[in-house]
């Protein structure tokens, strides 16, 4: 129990990761897949932010009377990763729109069925 409470950030990250991953691999609606992808990525962002925390440190802003800061580097890295995540989401949703236009559905198994009919 102590292990859970003292490492609560990690457990939350793992939980979110598994939720996102499940949403990804469970065959279903393509928009839900994108949602799963986002949750999955968000868990990694949390993981990074957790690494950056220095016990007793404050936010990394230069000010008087403070000596101990959290490590700002993971924050910066994750800012980049968030931008990448936004780009991935928008591209993914754009593809979903085009799939809907050409297939008339965004259910994964229906698309697979339509594809298998075309196979020769």
């Amino acid at each position: 129990m102590e292990l859970v409470i003292s490492h609560i950030n990690y457990w939350v990250a793992i939980l979110l990761m598994m939720i996102g991953f499940y949403a990804l691999i469970a065959r279903g609606n393509l928009v839900k897949t994108i949602v799963g992808l986002n949750i999955f990525q968000a868990s990694v962002f949390l993981l990074y932010i957790t690494f950056g925390k220095v016990s007793g440190g404050t936010a990394p802003i230069l000010q008087k009377n403070t000596e101990l800061y959290s490590n700002p580097l993971p924050h910066v890295l994750i800012l980049t990763a968030i931008v990448v995540g936004v780009a991935t989401t928008s591209l993914g949703l754009a593809l979903v729109v085009r799939i809907y236009e050409s297939y008339g559905t965004i259910e994964e198994d229906e698309i697979a069925e339509l594809d298998s009919k075309e196979e020769d």
Binding site: F51, T80, V84, A87, L91, G92, L95, R98, I111
Partner: protein, 491 residues
């Protein structure tokens, strides 16, 4: 000027991409990407020569010295890979004009070249950088643009293939990101050379083991090793021909380079191969990939799909070479990156020629192609021979080193399996050749050979396939030096 070349290698295509959007003209966009590719090729040759003469080049981006700043670090291995990427890109862009005009809607062509240049710069960046997080950023630049490029295929299945690739590719890249984060949390650095120094102190921690697992799974997803290959066949089949050729020749190859870099240089072969049964796992997955994907390739009716499965089998050969952890195995892997880029690039370009003339790339539609399009058909034969590994073609050289590597490693039965699997390649190449030369279709319409602007770049690749099968001092010689260098680091 010369000292800025490592940055220019990546920055020129990166700046040319928005230029294409601003100009909004398909002719100029095509010209820009041709000029940029050739310029990059020249830069990479100069860099390779500098590395050969003076050793490692380290470039501090923005003047921030490593390990704090982002470092571009060139050694024999990655400068060789840079030459491959930019060389293939030069040929592909010279070839592309007519093929792209045929396959892409006219008003989207400038966007096609924009995406192409972004993908190109992403791959160059992945190769040249010496910073682990920077690799992630470049992976995403190249992947995001390649998803968009695949979705530009004519068939609607191209879009769903691109979506599948997007999901799997993002999972792969995110796994890589988790691994890099764990390494950073244990060592406090992101610079690869610095990581290689600091990691041995924390080898025994679980965090590093987990980080290694995440990074390798992420990269294996990107390079499509069986059983993580599900995104690849559809993506290569339905993508525009130019994109299939470029992706098959470079994108998976750069992922393989990252695997070598992280496996041997960052984690070090002591950690990767001595402590855990990595070699056994990688080797058995590769053998399954080679056998299963070659057999599946035999039963395909669409030639591009056949080539995609053949690519998966070839990736198996390369990863097998990496798993041997000896000089011949690694040489085989590196030289096969080069040789396979030549032959598979040529085959996909030839399929582009077939598509533009016949309008289909199904086996049933190419009856008598040997008479109708003699040059394209002959190119397919030569590159096919190289896939099989027939002597006097480039493919033979890599198979030769691979068999030597298997014997050095003491895995005798593997050497025999390798020779037998070449027969599987013979079967799927023969299926295409037989239809082209020994069947005629009297009802088929008269067709002419593909335009010269497409056949000439195709033949540059074919000529290189033969040239590097006979004169191996550039390809195998460099690969050998690179392998020695990489193994030397990790000892």
């Amino acid at each position: 000027m010369l000292s800025q070349l490592p940055a220019l290698q990546v920055v020129i295509p990166l700046i040319a991409a928005p230029l294409c959007v601003v100009l909004r003209n398909k002719e100029i966009a095509c010209l820009v990407s041709q000029v940029v590719s050739i310029l990059s090729f020249l830069i990479s040759l100069i860099l390779l020569q500098q590395v050969l003469q003076e050793g490692i080049i380290s470039y501090a981006l923005g003047g921030w010295l490593a390990p704090v700043g982002i470092e571009y670090r060139l050694d024999i291995l990655n400068s060789f890979i840079l030459v491959i990427i930019s060389g293939i890109s030069s040929i592909v862009t010279l070839y592309s004009k007519k093929s792209v005009n045929f396959e892409i809607e006219s008003e989207k062509i400038y966007l096609f070249y924009t995406g192409y240049l972004l993908m190109f710069s992403g791959l160059l960046g992945m190769t040249i950088t010496g910073d682990a997080f920077n690799v992630f950023v470049f992976i995403e630049i190249s992947s995001l643009s390649s998803y968009a490029m695949i979705a530009m295929g004519k068939d609607r299945r191209a879009v769903s293939a691109a979506f599948t690739y997007l999901v799997m590719g993002t999972v792969g890249a995110t796994f890589f990101l988790i691994g890099v984060g764990l390494m950073y949390s244990m060592t406090g650095t992101l610079n690869m050379a610095d990581l290689a120094e600091r990691l041995p102190k924390v080898y025994d921690t679980k965090a590093i083991l987990v980080s290694f697992a995440f990074i390798s799974i992420g990269i294996l997803l990107k390079l499509a090793l069986f059983p993580l290959h599900l995104w690849l066949p559809n993506a290569y089949t339905y993508a525009p021909s130019v994109v299939s050729a470029f992706l098959s020749a470079t994108a998976t190859k750069v992922a393989i380079y990252i695997l070598i870099r992280f496996g041997y240089s960052v984690f070090g072969s002591d950690f990767v191969f001595s402590k855990y049964p990595t070699a056994e796992i990688l080797a058995s997955l590769s053998i399954i990939a080679i056998v299963v994907c070659s057999i599946v390739a035999i039963f395909q009716t669409n030639i591009k799909r056949l080539l995609a499965f053949s690519s998966l089998a070839q990736v198996g050969y390369i990863v097998l070479g990496i798993s041997f952890n000896n000089i011949n195995g690694l040489t085989a892997a590196i030289v096969h990156i080069f040789n396979h880029a030549l032959s598979k690039g040529a085959l996909f370009l030839a399929m582009g020629c077939v598509a533009i003339v016949i309008g289909s790339v199904k086996i049933k539609d190419i009856n008598g192609l040997g008479k109708k399009m003699p040059f394209t058909a002959f190119a397919i034969v030569i590159s096919g021979l190289s896939l099989i590994g027939v002597p006097l073609t480039a493919g033979f050289i890599s198979k030769w080193y691979l068999v030597l590597g298997a014997i050095d490693k003491g895995w005798w039965p593997l050497a025999i399996i390798l020779l037998l699997t070449s027969l599987l390649a013979l079967v799927y190449v023969w299926r295409v050749v037989e239809v082209m030369y020994f069947r005629s279709d009297p009802n088929s319409p008269e067709v002419k050979e593909a335009p010269l602007s497409m056949v000439i770049p195709l033949y540059i690749l074919v000529a290189m396939t033969i040239y590097f099968g006979i004169e191996t001092s550039f390809s195998a010689g460099l690969a050998n030096e690179a392998a020695e260098y990489i193994l030397g680091i990790s000892e």
